[in-house]
């Protein structure tokens, strides 16, 4: 469970309301694949990932990024029960996708960088603090069913 103060919840809600979830998803996933190239191991079927431009322009990356971030968005509506919200996805990532949970932390931090880039000064240290709690909570929830 993520413990956000009322101010932190307000900061998260206010900023998230202005996020183009589809675009930010593609950018976050793309940057994950560029900045931490070993994460490409999960995406052999995605085609050309040979350069930053190829990754960022890749339609499969954009589509998958959109999917991932819409799911994250659902989590934001259920901050009091992230483990329940992400239980099925946690099982999927362990049993079928075999994704090391370390990758959830990497993506969470890349997402924070993308939000910082989009919001500039609005992404205050307080807002960042709130989002760091959220991405850590989501990463933990996604790892919760691992065995």
């Amino acid at each position: 469970m993520v413990h956000l103060t009322a101010d932190e919840k307000a900061a998260v809600t206010a900023l998230w309301g202005k996020v183009n979830v589809d675009e930010v998803g593609g950018e976050a996933l793309g940057r994950l694949l560029v900045v931490y190239p070993w994460t490409q191991r999960f995406f052999d079927s995605f085609g050309d990932l040979s350069s930053p431009d190829a990754v960022m322009g890749n339609p499969k990356v954009k589509a998958h990024g959109k999917k991932v971030l819409n799911s994250f968005s659902d989590g934001l509506k259920n901050l009091d029960n992230l483990k329940g919200t992400f239980a099925k996805l946690s099982e999927l990532h362990c049993d079928k996708l075999h994704v090391d949970p370390e990758n959830f932390k990497l993506l969470g931090n890349v997402l924070v960088c993308v939000l910082a880039r989009h919001f500039g000064k609005q992404f205050t240290p307080q807002a960042q603090g709130a989002f760091q709690k959220v991405v850590a909570g989501v990463a933990n929830a996604l790892a919760h069913k691992y065995h």
């Binding site: 793309g30 940057r31 560029v34 900045v35 930053p52 990754v55 960022m56 931090n109 924070v112 960088c113 993308v114 910082a116 880039r117 989009h118 919001f119 500039g120 000064k121 992404f123 240290p125 307080q126 960042q128 603090g129 760091q132």
Partner: protein
């Protein structure tokens, strides 16, 4: 992990564009680190860590100046950072996990203030650079 010629160029070009604000960004990155990762405050019991603290700003400038030196000597980081490496190993003994936290907050600070420069390729190069600096600073720990 090795810094490629392209990485070095990305880092130098970006650092040059900071326009003398590096010191200010160092302070902001520290403030973000303390706010997002409260365990990092344990290394500064002797500091006023409230928002706007003069001590945090001064320390941030120190950190930024060291990074500016590192950028200027990017081809010999172990040499340029040798004294700081000794300091961190024998005196400060900051747990290695904390370098990742500060590095992340440095990236966030730069992304906030220089969104156009912070392309995916530059993001990658900066992350590698901070990681390399962190490795040098913890290289004498044991």
């Amino acid at each position: 992990m090795v810094l490629s010629p392209a990485d070095k160029t990305n880092v130098k070009t970006t650092w040059d564009k900071l326009g003398g604000h590096a010191g200010e960004y160092g302070g902001e990155a520290l403030e973000r680190t303390f706010m997002s990762f409260p365990t990092t405050k344990t290394y500064f019991p002797h500091f006023d860590l409230s928002p706007g603290s003069a001590q945090v700003k001064a320390h941030g400038k120190k950190v930024a100046d060291a990074l500016t030196t590192a950028v200027a000597h990017i081809d010999d980081l172990p040499g340029a950072l040798s004294a700081l490496s000794d300091l961190h190993a024998y005196k400060l003994r900051v747990d290695p996990v904390n370098f990742k936290l500060l590095s992340h907050c440095l990236l966030v600070t730069l992304a906030c203030h220089h969104p156009a420069e912070f392309t995916p390729a530059v993001h990658a190069s900066l992350d590698k650079f901070f990681s390399t600096v962190s490795t040098v600073l913890t290289s004498k720990y044991r």
